[in-house]
Point group: C2
Chain length 151, copies 2
Amino acid sequence: MEFKTATLNQLPAIVRLLADDEFGATRERYEKPLPKEYIEAFAKIEQQMGNSIIVVMVKNEVIGCLQLTLIPGISRLGTTRGQIEGVRIDKDYRGKGVGESLLRYAINEAKTMGCEMIQLTTDKKRKDAHRFYERLGFVASHEGMKLSLIN
Amino acid sequence: MEFKTATLNQLPAIVRLLADDEFGATRERYEKPLPKEYIEAFAKIEQQMGNSIIVVMVKNEVIGCLQLTLIPGISRLGTTRGQIEGVRIDKDYRGKGVGESLLRYAINEAKTMGCEMIQLTTDKKRKDAHRFYERLGFVASHEGMKLSLIN
């Protein structure tokens, strides 16, 4: 397994993973050619300091991904948070510790870059995900609240 | 009431608000001169595209603040999220709608800058905060999980 920051070459595989998901199926469009919205979004991620997609690869194939964004802040004596979004593992590779390895890699990257806390939100319906993150030491101390601005 | 992006001039007042809080009291150091960690953190926020502290002012005094960070992402067809952290209102101005006005200003800013979703996490012990955000249309659909990297 190889862990690395994604480049545009890996974007179609990342969208495939995001679409191949209980909630993602209705939210994503994995098409050829890839919808330009994804390409534009990837460019914005690359332009923002501290924002990146990390992929895990086996034999040159993307089998997992997550987004790691470093957010410097004032609170807690100027703590930088590492925010994780969009964690996905290829169906064929689940239950083999790939997700745990990917998370541990991202946590270590965040630590190296000066983060003092990692945070994420996970849908209350994803019970398996909660147990997964709790095993990694995460504490469900907060409510994760969302407000859609569409419509 | 005036709403604006904070400059270094407002930083001591922001730290005062963060420290004057049930949980912030033990986490922050509101001292003169201001600990250099805050000044360094503020510089990092200013350097990161899409990251800012918004303050609400009355008669040239900061009476409220929050952090708004725009996070471009791949999921949901390349959605940009607006993430809110560190919402605080001066004790003397609570219960007067200042928080609601500040949030509505930040939500509108995020919308103008192309965000399709606003998200935040709030400590499960802050029951009043949950009701406040629900009144603004937020839905507590997610668990907010944190992992401390200190110690």
